[in-house]
Amino acid sequence: MKLNDEERDILAGKAGPVPQQALKHQIKVGDFFAARDFVPVTQAHIMADTESLGEAGVQWLEGLAATTEGEHRVRIPTITDPRGTDFAKADWLGQTSAMVDLERRAIVAFEKLGVAMTNTCINYQTIQPPTRNEHTAFGDTGVVIYANSVCGARSNFEGGPSALSAGLTGRTPRYGFHLPEQRRGSLRIQVDHTPATLNGWGGLGGVIGRLAGNYWAVPVIEGIEGAPRSDQLKHFGASMASFGSIALYHIVGLTPEAAKLSDVAASDLPVHRVTKADVEALQKSYHTDDTVDVVVFSAPQLSLYELGDLAALCDGRTFSVPMLAVTSPQVKPDSDRMGYTARIEAAGGHVLSGMCFYQSYAREISEARGWKRLATNSAKLVNILGGYGYRPMLASMEACVEAAATGKLVRT
């Protein structure tokens, strides 16, 4: 990679060992993808739940945080994805003291490095959405695909070590979706319907993600009517990123880079048709039981509007199986203040904050609480949890609430 004077100084250790180590890591990745140079970034977002880090990752972080020589704090606003627990609910979730201790150690290390513990995967709704052409280093695939597609910002998937490195150096290797040529569409998707429900949007994202197939694919979608809401595109993108590792899509006439098809796509791109039946088939493929052990709303964290809708559905109900609704630390106080939390809890539900279900030792929670058959309205969550030993089932928010009350999930 071509380095400027400042980068050569960092690499030589003139800024201290922390930015030096960060830049070395970034050069390894940049060389792998043949990046020609670095691009300055304005924000970084770190995925770093301790189930992923483990003891080894936390020790690695603590080693960086213990350094006092030279620059040893992030240079740009650097925030965090959900943690591995809600400390107030850890016992109820069946998490062990070892898990909670590891979380506390990671937080201490991040704070020493100057990282702001926002603990959210919906920072584009709650902290600061990026602007068009803003180069960022975002972790969490749902954040990246929303930032790239809906906001027109420029980010690759930046895993925890790379996002932290970007925070520490203020730059990231210029490859992938930082380059205009990578942002051109690679396949056209014609849909025959516009979903109405969040699980419908997630299902559509899942079908398109599977079709597109890999990180470098950029679906260009036609046929969406009206103006989808942020929560709908949140589920759509998070699911597409989960099923297909997709980081950018365009919706013709809607997303900022695709006012018309020719802005983002050649006329001879392959065309795939996605029908309502395809989306229903994906949802039905997960419906493997009629009984549920637990209902989870998470992945991504719920917005205030989603919690408001959920609270309305909970009114007058009494749940027979556990129901969890997971939100961000920014939204939770408003949910409390608006009375949504109390209405959900009055039905027997639990509102958790600052975590996400699949990033919180889901396998161990399953074993501790005996939860296998899980209903959710998140297509992303059903795609992930099979590997954790669950039998996840996808349904509407209304059907999931009904399942929490009756223990039965109605087939649709």
Binding site: F32, L53, P161, A241, N383
Partner: protein, 135 residues
Amino acid sequence: MSARIFKARHAMGPVVRGPALVANDGFSARYDLDRIKGVFSRPAHKLAGQSYVGKILVLDTAKGGVATAWMLHEMKSRGIVPLALVLNSVNPILAQGAALGDVAMLAGFDEDITAAIPNGAVVEVNPAEGWLKVG
């Protein structure tokens, strides 16, 4: 069988040699693995139930989220890690994870590498020279 060499466009990590575990399927440490037992655990994965420990995984593409960037490092610290990852295409997360964990990785071939390498074959991965050798 005479040796065949496959050139990769992207490469990093140490030289390794070992048995190949091959499938035309994706890879995500979070979605697909039981990282305690060291086996593929997602029921729909073509390698479900098989151990990946000490294997050179030959797969199609990266799937899923960002956790693999930490998980390869964590798995290596416990010795429950693939010997190398060889894929038709990778996403940045796999590359970032391999960089942190110092795991050998090759990606980008002129043919479908999952069809070219027999399952169980002993292969050598040489990232410094950007090739994989079988036979």
